[in-house]
Amino acid sequence: MRVIKLDKTKLVEYLRSLEEWGEVWGPVRKGEKFVFAKKDPSEFDLTARRTILPPKKFFVPPRFTMFSYRDGRWEEEFDESRRIIFGLHPCDIFGILILDRLFMEHYPDPYYIKRRKNTAILGFSCLPDEKCFCIATNTHSVEEGFDLFFSDVEGEFYLVWVGSSLGDDLTRIREDLFDEDVTEEDIERYIEWRRKRDKMFKTDLDLTGMPEIVEISYKRPIWEKIGEACLSCGSCSMVCPTCNCYNVVDENVFYEERIKRDRHWDSCMFKEYSLVAGGHNFREKRSDRLKLFYTHKLTGFMSQFGKPACVGCGRCVDACPVGINVPNVAKALKGEKVDAIWARGEE
C-alpha cells in the first residue's frame, strides 16, 4: 500500500479541492455529539468521536424510494450523487465492510452498490473514549475498506494510506500537497502512537468465548430482566453500524399520479417485526427480540459470514436510555457487575 504524508495545515485545502469529485461530508459537532454533515471542511471536527448515526446512512438512507410506478410500469430510482466522506474511524469502516458483504454478495442490491460506488471513504485515526470497545471486538485497526486513511501521529504531518485505485486518483487531484518521503522517524512515531492509543482504552470488556456463552445462556432468566427494562424504542438498531433491517412500503402519491415503493429502517426490537399472517408472533416478548439482536451482535451474523456483527463503536452505549448495550449485556451474561437500571438489586 502506498503511504504518503500530508502537511496538517493543508488538510482543509486538500479536502476543499475534492469538491471537484463530489460532495464533501465530514464530522461536525451537534450539541455534545457529532454527525456527518455536508459542510465546509474547515468546520470538520477532527476530535470527533462516534457520530450519532453511523455512515450506513449514506448507503441505505433511513427512508428512500426504490421504484416509482407510472402508466403501468415500474421505474427504478437511484441516488446518483458522488460523495466523499471524511473522518471515518476504523470501527465504521469495519461496519461498512460487513454491510458490503450483506448487500453486495448474493443478490447484489443495486441501490446500495450505486451509492457505495459513488462514495469515497476517507478514514481518520482516532483516540478512544470511555465508551469505545473496538479493542475487544478487534476492529481498532483497519487494513482495507477505505480509499484513503489519514493517521494523526501527533507531528506536523498526517500519514496517509492509499487503499484503492480511487484513493490514488484522489491524491492526484492535489499531488503537490503530498510528500512521498516517509522517514524512519515517522514510522517510529506511528508505532509509538499506536501503543499509546491501545493503552488509552478504558473498557474492561473481554469478548473471548462470547458465542458459546450466548448459546448456552438462551434460557437464562437474565433475558427476562433485561426485557422488562427494554423500551422497544429501536434506538439501538437505528444507530448500530451493522443493523441493516428494513421494511418495504408502497405509497400512493395520488397528487403526482404515481405510486412509489419505499424502504425504511426497521428494527427487530419492534413487535410488528416478526408478526405473520394469522397474528402469530415469533417474538412476542421483548426478551425474545433482545436475544435475536444479541445473537447477531455477539455470536454469529449471517450463516455465510459466521462472524459477530459488533464493531465496538459504542453507539448502543450512547443510545439506549436504559443501559441495554453490548458491553453491559456481555458482562451480565458473564456474571460480571453491571451498572444499569435493569441490573439493580430488587424488583
Binding site: 442490491d109 433491517c245 399472517a277
Partner: protein
Amino acid sequence: MNPYEMQRARIVRIYRLTDDVKFFQVRPYMGTEVCELNYRPGQFMMISLPGIGEAPFSISSTPSRPGLYEFCIRKVGRLTEKIFELKENAVIWLRGPYGNGFPVEQMEGHDLLIIMGGLGAAPLRSLLLYALDNRELFGKIYLLHGARTPDDMLFREEFLELMHRDDLVCLLTVDRDDTGRWPAYTGVVTELFRYVKGIDPKNTYAAVCGPPVMYKFVVEKLVELQIPKNQILMTLERRMKCGIGKCGHCAIEYIYTCLDGPVFTYWDVLHMKELI
C-alpha cells in the same frame, strides 16, 4: 439486474378453494409460447400489486408442468384481500423464485411421506405433483392431509381423485364432518399415521407443512417411525419483505428463512432455538 425488479404476469384462471382461499394460475408475460419456468418445489415468489404491497407466496404448481405458476392464497390482510378482488386476465407482478426448495435430487429413490395441514398444502402440492409426474424416481408415496371440515380442505376434489390411484396412498382427514358425506377419515392428522405401513424409515423423506401447532405432534410421530432427523423436512413461514436475505425480517438466529429456507430439516430445527 435489480433483484427487486418485478415481472409482469397475467392471471389466467381463478378457482375458489375455500371461503378464504383461492387458487390462481398465473402466466408471466414472456412472448406467446409456453415457457419453461425454472423453479423447484418448495420455492416461493414475491407477488405484488402497485400501491398495495408485496408478499411471499409458495408456488403450488410443479416445474414438471410448464407454462404456469400456481398459487394458493389465503385472504388475511391488505394485499391478499386485493388479490382476491382480482378477476381473470388481471395483471400482477412477480419476482423470484426464491428460497432453497426441497432437495428433490437427494430425495430421489426414497419413500416419501407428505404431511400437510391447512395452507401447508400450498408448497407441498408442488412436491406431490412433482413426485407423481416423476413417479419412477421415488419409492412409496404417502399423502397425509388434514383439515378442520371438508369445506376447509384445500384441493379437496383433486386429492379425493388421488384416492383412486394405486401408486400412492392418499390419506385425507377432517376434524369434523357435518355433511355426513365425507368419504375419507375423521380425526386429527396424526391419527393417520396408523395407516402408514411398509415404508423403510431410513430410506424415507418426510415433508411437513402446516400451522405452527401441527409440527410438534407430527414430528413426534415421525421420530417414532425412526425417520432420520435430517430426512424430516419442514417448510416454515416468517415475515419477509425482500425474499433475498437483506431486510432481516425472516432471520432465525443467524440464518435467513428466505435464503437458507423455507425448507429446513428437523436436525436444523433442533439446533435453532427459535425455529418453531
